[in-house]
Amino acid sequence: MPGLTQPPQAITGPAVAAGPVIAVRDITKTFGETTALHDVSLTIARGEIVVLLGLSGSGKSTLLRHLDGLDRPDTGTVTVLDAPVSRLHGRPLRALRGQVGFVFQQFELVGPLTVLENVLAGALFQMRGPRLGLWGYRRELKLAALGHLDRVGLLTHAYQRADTLSGGQQQRVGIARALMQNPRILLADEPVASLDPESSAQVMALIREIAIDSGLTVVCSLHQVDLALSWGDRIVGLRRGEVVLDTATQGLSKQNMMEIYGRVTTSTAELGAIDTELGTAPDEPDEQGEPDEQGELDLQTFSSARDNRR
């Protein structure tokens, strides 16, 4: 596995100071009648682990797709790794996509192919011409792919058809495919939304572990507030295509969590009050000692209140 994982010291290297890895400026994107993103701006520094939080339809996926050049904004610019993604075409675009790994909610493995072939697809951008079957790939690449499979704990399944794996296993193959790119940025779109709680925990832990080991910048969209709080370093909340929240997770309390939940779900009129409270949230360590039961109770009453409102 030598050379597969980037040395951790990269995070503390001089590159940290050299500007943001991702810079999104005032992008707006509409699909027909619906506005998916409205005037969204966001900068992410190297090595950050960012969670995009929001309900379905809030624009999380669309924003992530813009970062990989899969969608193009109507107005505004997207700069990733100093490249103007929104204006790239052809080879430069593919080269950039090669440096950005993408993990999907529905895993998106090619079912009839073996697990190993699926992982190797992550190396296609380095090659010219198409590949059919395993013999098209160099031995070093195959060994590297097996290394990544070992990393995600699926080495013994390398030659199995991808559609024979369970959901959690398929998602780990998806991660291995992204790692195969040796990416500098990892994008994950609701990576655990289709998984059971146990697999979810495994997959989220794996992504974080890999991110820290390899010094990756991670942008991951989620819709569970508690998971976002415990997992990410920074939360960006989206609601109906607008950024409504951008805060560090460190020091946030259960109370803040409720507010965040409210913020990404409630209407704009109600936001003002929450805004003032939340602005001071990261500097309020005194609320950390709040008992867990209390928090859970809050969550329950909150959700039932929300149900009543519908």
Binding site: M1, D68, L70, L93, R94, A95, L96, R97, G98, Q99, V100, G101, F102, F104, Q106, E108, L109, V110, G111, P112, L113, T114, L116, E117, A121, G122, L124, F125, M127, G129, P130, R131, L132, L134, R139, K142, L143, L146, G147, D150, L155, T156, A158, Y159, Q160, R161, D163, T164, G174, R177, A178, M180, Q181
Partner: protein
């Protein structure tokens, strides 16, 4: 209906209730036009049926011809075993290579024609139209042209089958691409792959099983159609049969017909078995390779791990692949292709093209040719309506949710498979030769042959209707027939219209070809023109066929859209 409406004032209720009702009842003008067209077509079919003069007494009378015929011919005879084996292998090999040719050239066309892979909308329309245009030229005509350009041999047949089949195969390939799960393809794009890499890694693995099924299906059709190519000089069983009939050696001719029939049935069984094996393959995760790997445990990244183990699935795939390669090599060997012809034929191209252009009516005048084309269309319409009536009965009983019990369903499914195995053209030839009838025999042959296809399509469509309404009627105490008439049939109606147009489309092409063996219509003139070297007349006839087929295709597309 008025119950669901809000009534602001009691006095206005009726006026409020009536307005939406009237607007609901008023059908779109397009739908009215389509309905009228459908009515006209059905009327035309019935008129055709009468004009072709198919009546029960007529058919019964013709059986006396048949008995007299068999008295004269005696027993049927076959070619010598060695020759028979060679001819059979040659026919199968030729058809296989033709189909393979079509499959290879269909891939780029399908890529252009599929909405999710096409580089642009213009390309998509172009590729789809090219497919329709290719389909509209009968393979017999192509064979005629190629026989002119190449020395007699197998190449004209291979190319004729190959080019004609591209039309259907590319359409089915493109439809398969459009049905894939697009996620994995886009995931590979997100990893920075080129369009070509995306296709090979993301699309091809997903569509391969369905593509192979399509090719096998087309190969069956081509085998059945190859008989007729013999009539224009393509080597194989068809040519031998045409020689036998021309030299009035009826017993040998019928013998070869029986061989072709048996061959088609065997091929149908083999290809459906292969399709089942391939599509039904479900990986078990308990294969030899999997167990071996698991016993070794975590094997670490060693040199051996980079080689794929010979698991059961891999061995099976390799065996199938090797077998397929052997069959292809065998086909090339037996067809004895004169590769030089491919190089030299270009020099004949201008000369040949000059023979075919400009089109003319030759020694006939326009009304005669138009009447002949009209007869062909009448045969197709009459055959389609006969097929439709029979298929509604047989197809319904072959559907799981209509048949009174599984044994009835299995019985009628068997009937359909058997009919599908019979090459229509063989049926037509035998009927024409045996009963001495022309147009009637041709129509009956087409009608019977069509049942195999339309009956199957209808049965499949009926099995796919939503079961909810059926259960609702059953729960309300309806009889089996009431459930069929009240829930199953109405839901299957749209599919029936679509399939019927497909049948008409197929029948017009088939009816053209019937004329070549004495079944009446424009085909007779086509064969005469070809044999009399009046190629300008061939062009005229081909253009007439082309226009008719494209019109029917357009009509079918329109109907499907309106009655969606």
């Amino acid at each position: 209906m008025t119950l669901t409406l809000e009534r602001p004032q009691p006095g206005q209720a009726d006026a409020v209730a009536l307005t939406p009702r009237r607007s609901q009842r008023r059908a779109r003008p397009e739908k009215v036009a389509a309905g009228l067209t459908l009515g006209v077509l059905v009327t035309a079919s019935v008129v055709s049926l009468i004009s072709v003069d198919i009546s029960l007494p007529h058919i019964i009378a013709s059986w006396s011809n048949a008995t007299r015929f068999f008295d004269r011919v005696g027993v049927i005879s076959f070619p010598a075993p060695g020759e028979l084996l060679y001819l059979t292998a040659l026919t199968v090999g030729l058809v296989l290579l033709g189909t393979l040719f079509a499959a290879v050239f269909s891939v780029p066309l399908a890529w252009l024609a599929a909405a999710n892979t096409s580089p642009g909308r213009g390309w998509m329309v172009f590729a789809r139209f090219l497919g329709v245009a290719i389909r509209a030229v009968p393979d017999v005509v192509l064979a005629m042209v190629f026989v002119l350009m190449f020395s007699l041999g197998t190449l004209p047949g291979i190319l004729a089958i190959g080019i004609h089949s591209i039309g259907m195969i590319s359409k089915m390939f493109a439809d398969a691409i459009e049905q894939i799960d697009d996620g994995p393809r886009l995931a590979i794009r997100a990893a920075g792959a080129t369009r070509l890499q995306e296709f090979f890694s993301g699309v091809l693995p997903q569509v391969l099983p369905s593509w192979v099924a399509t090719v096998l299906h087309r190969n069956d059709i081509n085998l059945r159609g190859s008989v007729i190519l013999g009539y224009v000089g393509v080597a194989g069983l068809g040519l031998e049969m045409s020689y036998a009939f021309k030299s009035l050696n009826y017993s040998l001719g019928l013998g070869i017909a029986v061989v072709i029939f048996a061959l088609c049935v065997v091929m149908e069984i083999v290809s459906s078995a292969v399709r089942t094996v391939m599509l039904g393959f479900a990986p078990t995760r308990h294969g030899i390779g999997d167990r071996l790997l698991r016993r070794i445990g975590v094997i670490g990244v060693s040199a051996d791990a980079s080689r794929r183990p010979w698991a059961y699935a891999r061995i099976r795939n390799a065996v199938w692949g090797a077998l397929a390669a052997l069959i292809v090599i065998g086909s090339i060997w037996i067809c004895d292709i004169k590769w030089g012809d491919i190089l030299t034929f270009w020099s004949y191209l201008p000369e040949t093209a000059a023979k075919f252009w400009p089109p003319s009516f030759g020694s006939y005048d326009a009304p005669v040719m138009l009447a002949a084309m009209g007869e062909t269309i009448a045969i197709a319409l009459a055959a389609t309506i006969l097929t439709l009536l029979a298929s509604i009965m047989i197809g319904s009983l072959a559907a799981r949710n209509v048949a009174p019990n599984p044994r009835v369903r299995a019985g009628f499914r068997l009937v359909l498979v058997t009919i599908r195995g019979i090459p229509e053209i063989i049926l037509a030839i035998v009927l024409i030769v045996v009963t001495g009838l022309g147009t009637q025999a041709g129509t009956i042959a087409l009608a019977i042959g069509g049942i195999g296809l339309l009956g199957k399509l209808l049965a499949d469509s009926l099995e796919e209707v939503r079961p909810g309404p059926e259960q609702a009627l059953k729960a309300a105490g309806a009889t089996g027939l009431q459930v069929y008439a009240g829930a199953t049939a109405p839901q299957g109606m749209k599919a029936l219209i679509g399939h019927s147009f497909y049948m008409l489309d197929t029948n017009i092409r088939a009816a053209t070809i019937l004329g070549l063996v004495g079944g009446g219509g424009v085909g007779y003139y086509l064969l005469n023109a070809g044999q009399g070297s009046r190629y300008d007349l061939v062009t005229t006839i081909v253009l007439m066929i082309f226009v008719t087929v494209v019109m029917v295709e357009g009509l079918a597309v329109w109907m499907r859209r309106v009655f969606r």
